[in-house]
């Protein structure tokens, strides 16, 4: 013999506790009030690619050498690169145009994997909606270029790793160049030093 | 005619409204009933019947029988009309318009003829009777307390019999419409 209706009363008590509790305990309310509070993104969060540059000047510090590997590897083919040329028409290791159509990009990160110069990386910016259907969904070079410090702010571990690798590379190359220079002694000191300075890029 | 109307209107508007308060619902009642009778679509007929019940209830209220008017609305609109509608839905709602029309064939025409003969006879009696020419007496009312006293006093046996009848009808309807177990 149970008291009929006690289950309903129990249920009402539960909902009443939830109702009152949501005014007392703030951590019951898990909803984020989006435009006012932003989610703290996990470090591994990724949206679309961007280009990293070193130092303060995007043009001179660009890591990209316009090797076009990412353009070839991109599965939906959303990357478009034109190599820059100087007045004489000679190719420079720098892209003149670098566009990513993020309406096509599928965030697969293959471009990041294949880039040998640690130049293209994944961003965390997710507020990319716009009223312009064609223009603003194609990110061009000025929009894509972001500083290494920004990279450090979004993916600190990964950025430190990348910097370490670049530094190690540079040291290795310097050591190799030094060894080469020591071994080959005199004959072509000028050319060796010039080539090493070109390869290591800006620190 | 028009001047008369205006004169009454200016002299005592409330009296005029009072009179039309009976006539207008009565007109609605007759129109809705006529439409309900000739309507081929059963659902429309039932809805028009509901409208005529509402109009009848308003006529009762306008005549001073408030309690009866409300009972009429409660029982007819709330229960009888809904039961009719429900049984229409339970019995082949797909063949609604196949019902035979009025005045097609001999038997229905005879039925209508009988009805109109009865109407003519009734109207003849009504308009020849001296009793029916009586003017309207002062407004009467039936207070609920008085109705209650009468129901529990002089008419208590009738009330009990009605209660038994309703119980029997409830049980009977349930038994009749119960699904036969094979």
């Amino acid at each position: 013999m149970i008291f009929p209706g006690s289950g309903i009363l129990k249920g009402l008590a539960v909902t009443a506790r939830n109702f009152a509790g949501s005014y007392v305990e703030k951590d019951r309310l898990t909803t984020e009030q989006y435009p006012e509070e932003r989610p703290k993104l996990p470090e591994a969060a990724r949206s679309f690619p961007f280009l990293v540059y070193d130092g303060d000047n995007p043009e001179t510090g660009m890591r990209c050498v316009s090797c076009k590997i990412c353009e070839k590897e991109c599965p939906p083919q959303c990357i478009y690169i034109i190599q820059d040329r100087d007045e004489a028409g000679k190719a420079i290791k720098r892209p003149k145009v670098f566009d990513i159509d993020i309406s096509v990009c599928m965030s697969c990160q293959i471009c990041v994997e294949v880039c040998p110069f640690e130049s293209i990386r994944m961003d965390q910016d997710y507020e990319l909606s716009s009223f312009d259907r064609f223009g603003s969904l194609i990110l061009d070079k000025p929009k894509l270029l972001k500083s290494n410090s920004y990279y450090h702010s979004i993916h600190p571990t990964e950025a430190a790793e990348t910097d370490g690798r670049i530094e190690a590379d540079r040291l290795k190359k310097e050591a190799a160049a030094a060894a080469k220079a020591a071994k080959a002694a005199a004959p072509s000191v000028v050319s060796a030093s010039s080539s090493s300075s070109q390869q290591e890029g800006k620190p | 005619m028009v001047t008369d109307f205006l004169k009454t209107c200016c002299a005592d508007p409330m009296k005029l409204i009072g009179e039309w308060f009976v006539i207008l619902p009565a007109l609605v009642l007759l129109l809705a009933a006529a439409a309900a009778v000739v309507m081929r679509n059963l659902i429309h007929a039932a809805l028009l019947l509901t409208l005529s019940f509402i109009a009848l209830g308003i006529v009762f209220i306008a005549l001073g029988a408030e309690f009866v008017g409300f009972v009429q609305l409660l029982v007819y609109v709330g229960a009888v009309a809904m039961v009719i509608v429900f049984s229409i839905l339970l019995t082949k709602p797909d063949q609604l318009t196949k019902s035979r029309n009025l005045l097609s064939g001999f038997a229905p025409a005879a039925g209508v003829a009988v009805a109109f003969t009865a109407l003519a006879a009734l109207l003849g009696f009504i308009f020849s009777s001296p009793l029916a020419k009586k003017p309207m007496p002062a407004p009467a009312s039936a207070p609920v307390a008085a109705i209650g006293e009468a129901l529990m006093g002089d008419y208590v046996i009738a009330l009990i019999v009605l209660g038994i009848l309703l119980t029997a009808a409830l049980v009977g309807a349930a038994v009749i419409a119960m699904e036969d177990k094979p």
Partner: protein, 397 residues
């Protein structure tokens, strides 16, 4: 000061009418104007209550589920009803090509009329009844019966099988729950000896021992009848857990499926106004109407008490909605016929015993027994009947 607040609405009306009268407006026009002002005020108050509730209900439901609820439109989301209204008005009014268009068109109107008409007989405060009717309670139920017609018209006129199914469910539910509703309301009429709402309210006046209000809900029979009335009110206003006529998950909103735009808004409005009307009736019949719960609280005007009680009852309805899941249709009808109807008869009998046993301690024991024993028996029979055993799945695993 206090007495002026108490009768403030009436005083303002009289002042305004006196002002008009001093300009030489004839008396019968004044009578019409006064009626129009009263009607306008009541409709205005209830429509703004509806607007407030439509946002408060969502906020309360959200809080129960540990969410915030609407808080974007205006401060605390209070302008949400305006946004909803603009959305509803600007939406396209769709009528299905095969619909019975005249029935389809008339249904929202027919739905709205009884919802507004029933507001006429509710006593909103001391001497504040728009229409003092001898048979007020009967009027309430007679006019309320129009809602069923409207729901049926909506379901049939849409020419949609889900709508017809929803309408049939709604009619079955409303007819079934009308009986215990009326019987439990009649119990109060029996004790107070009148069918007039204001007489029933004044029968609940006064305080036992100087502080316990003599509301009908505080007696065994009144508590039972009140609970039955409350449950039936939930069912009559199609609110959860009895909202299966418009169950979204099974019937795609039942009779409302083919309605959009302003017609849908009208249905929504009528449903909420009807809910407030039946809350008002519940307060009038069982919670002492406009009477203050404690003697010294009389300083607060009676209409504030009435409004407060109505809002409280509406809040409990939202609370119940947040708690209980929807019933199945056969359980719903069985509950009405096999539990609520016998219980309302028990309440009837219990009230009679209460009256004839002198309303003293003996009456308490007798009426409590008459209500309590059937409750325990029926309730246990029901819980055993519908108890769920552990399911065994034959072909899984």
């Amino acid at each position: 000061m206090i007495s002026s607040l108490e009768s403030a609405p009436i005083d303002v009306l009289h002042w305004f009418l006196g002002l008009l009268g001093s300009f030489g407006v004839p008396a019968w026009i004044l009578a019409i104007i006064s009626a129009l002002i009263i009607i306008g005020t009541i409709i205005g108050v209830f429509l703004s209550l509806f607007a407030l509730t439509s946002v408060m209900e969502r906020k309360i439901l959200a809080r129960v589920q540990n969410r915030y609820g609407p808080n974007r439109a205006g401060p605390f989301g209070l302008f949400q009803p305006i946004a909803d209204g603009i959305k509803m008005i600007t939406k396209e009014d769709l009528v299905p090509r095969t619909a019975d268009w005249i029935v389809h068109f008339l249904a929202p109107v027919v739905m709205m009329v009884p919802a507004l008409l029933v507001l006429a007989i509710i006593p909103y405060g001391r001497d504040m009844v728009p229409a003092e009717l001898d048979a007020g309670i009967l009027y309430f139920f007679a006019v309320g019966a129009g809602t069923e017609v409207a729901v049926f018209m909506a379901g049939w006129g849409s020419n949609n099988k889900y709508s017809v199914l929803g309408a049939m469910r709604a009619i079955a539910q409303m007819i079934s729950y009308e009986l215990p509703l009326v019987i439990s309301a009649i119990v109060t009429a029996m004790i107070s000896g009148s069918l007039s709402p204001s007489a029933i309210v004044s029968a609940q006046g006064g305080f036992a021992f100087g502080f316990v209000p003599q509301w009908f809900a505080l007696t065994p029979w009144g508590f039972t009848a009140g609970l039955i009335f409350y449950i039936c009110a939930l069912a009559e206003s199609n609110r959860s857990p009895f909202d299966l006529p418009e169950g979204e998950s099974e019937l795609v909103a039942g009779h409302l499926t083919e309605y959009s735009g302003f017609k849908y808004a009208t249905f929504f409005m009528a449903e909420y106004v009807g809910m407030f009307a039946i809350c008002g009736m519940f307060v009038t019949l069982f919670l002492g109407g406009w009477q203050a719960p404690l003697p010294f609280l009389d300083i607060i005007p009676s209409w504030c008490w009435f409004l407060g009680k109505v809002c409280f009852v509406a809040f409990t309805m939202i609370w119940v909605r947040a708690t209980l899941p929807r019933l199945r249709i056969d359980h719903l009808l069985a509950f009405a016929w096999k539990f609520l109807l016998p219980m309302s008869f028990a309440a009837f009998l219990s009230a009679a015993c209460w009256h004839y046993a002198g309303r003293g301690p003996l009456a308490w024991i007798l009426s409590l027994a008459i209500v309590g024993i059937p409750y325990l028996l029926l309730g246990n029979a029901f819980t055993n009947r519908f108890s769920v055993s552990r399911r065994t799945y034959l072909f899984s695993e």
